[in-house]
Amino acid sequence: MSEEQKNMEAERSLSLEAQFEARIARDEKIEPKDWMPEKYRKTHIRQMSQHAHSEIVGMLPEGNWITRAPSLRRKVALLAKVQDEAGHGLYLYSACETLGITRDELYEQLHTGKAKYSSIFNYPTVTWADMGAIGWLVDGAAIINQVPLCNTSYGPYARAMIRVCKEESFHQRQGFEIMIKLAGGSPEQKEMAQDALNRWWWPSLMMLGPTDAESVHTEQSMKWKLKRKSNDDLRQQFIDQTVPQAELIGLTIPDADLKWNEERGSYDFGDINWDEFWQVVKGHGPCNKERMNARVGAWEGGEWVRDAAMAYAEKKESRKNKKVV
């Protein structure tokens, strides 16, 4: 047997699953109708739907300020941003649906608490500055998470993420611009900005996920390119890029232990209150109930509207068919 034949033999003997993993390792994309291990399918449904749910629930804390935005320019920017989140949720639900689950089923999982969404959206937006802090910090942290996903192994997810990342490029700027304006404004405005930073800083760090030691899915996710860097690495990256931005606009990161570490070339930072994180994840954050009530309310309240559209479409179709006959 030649060397080449031997290799082919070996390839044939690989199980379907090993071939699948080999394709991913070679940076090939997996497409909806391709064979895939059940675990791959389930993990992707879980992650993509969680991501979609986060976009949709994430509309609520910012939507809270649409009617009260302080200027017309800010109002249209905020409206467009929250609308983008609806769009991103839609792209991600669609990507998820390629794996054989419907959007209605995904909603059902969200509404019954079976599916999770990013816990940061369970914090209240109490002042206008929170619109700045969310755009700057929350979107900033999200981008760090999302950019590597543009290259993830599942084709529909990667394509959705490319669109999401392209559209989101204005979101963080929108938030940071609000912060700049506040930080450079009256003492009252600056205080509002600092207060928002104080409240959103730690939840933003938590948003990047539990520490590597506690994270359950990491290894498998790395292999499937659902994740390219560990939570702790992402967190460090976020801190290192955000601290100078805060300094630039004269705001103080609310962490007494924050210190530049020359040797590591990174910032050392204080302990994160993981008890708080788990409390919110488990449904006991300040706004978990409000957020779910709003989502369920919109869905149930809209049922008669969706039904009407469906009934109308059917009537129209049958009228058309009658004409043809």
Binding site: P70, E188, G297, G302, W304, A311
Partner: protein, 250 residues
């Protein structure tokens, strides 16, 4: 300052402001993601129009007036929108009916405003009419879906049309500023739009298997700054930041 022109512009722009504010408030709460996105688009179109009108009005007023001064710092009696656009979103049927009853008017109005001898107003109308043409299609389609959908939806949209009908006649009332502007070939004579309006509305309502309300009792006052009780609450949200933190930039 040309007070009549200034007031005339506000009379147009305030409709878009208040309706945009109502529509924008629904973002995140729509019956489906797709519908949610569509409603936000309408809101964004309206706010875009508002900014063009107010920027023009601010120039006319002078004294470093800004679009935001006009949008946020008037008193309730100084807002000149029609009563129709400030009515609340009791349910999605009201959102659609309000939009439909306004869009039908808005389109006819802009067609005429495009002929205005005021080049700024004419330009704004020219740009807006494309947006409003789409709004009209969107809201008319939804009136038909709800009217000719299920028994439940039929009842709900009929209810909304019946309740809001009383605010339609005001669309065709002429204010003093209107009359002056019509004479100067700047403004639209809204009285001439009335027949076409009711014809267009009835066509869609018929297609939607809905009844045209027979009531001839109409409410008015918005154009003179006398509003329904709903507007005050809308304004307290709208103006909250500017009132709480006066003279600041955002």
């Amino acid at each position: 300052m040309n007070t009549n022109l200034y007031k005339y512009i506000l009379g147009i722009a305030d409709n878009s402001l208040i309706l945009g504010q109502r529509m924008g408030a629904l973002t995140g709460h729509g019956p489906s993601l797709e519908t949610d996105i569509a409603c936000t688009n309408i809101s964004l179109d309206l706010f875009g129009q508002v900014r063009s009108y107010y920027q023009y009005a601010a120039k006319i007023k002078g004294d470093n007036t800004t679009e935001d001064d006009i949008a946020f710092l008037r008193k309730e009696r100084e807002y000149l929108n029609v009563l129709l656009v400030e009515q609340p979103d009791t349910h999605f049927g009201f959102t659609i009916a309000r939009q439909f009853l306004f869009d039908t008017y808005h389109f006819l109005f802009l067609e005429e405003l495009e002929k205005s001898h005021d080049i700024t107003l004419s330009a704004i109308a020219k740009k807006s009419i494309k947006e409003v043409s789409y709004h009209r299609r969107f809201s008319s389609d939804w009136v038909k879906r709800l009217g000719d959908g299920t028994a439940v939806s039929h009842e709900k949209i009929q209810e909304a049309i019946n309740v809001l009908w009383t605010y339609t006649d005001e669309l065709f009332h002429q204010t003093e500023a209107d009359k002056v502007m019509v004479k100067e070939n700047i403004g639209v004579d809204v009285t001439t739009l009335k027949d076409q309006y009711y014809t267009n509305v009835e066509t869609i309502l018929n297609e939607a298997t809905l009844e045209v309300p027979e009531s001839k009792w109409f409410q008015k006052g918005g154009k003179e700054g006398i509003h329904t009780e709903h507007l005050g609450y809308l304004l307290s949200d709208l103006q909250y930041m500017q009132r709480t933190y006066p003279n600041m930039e955002w």
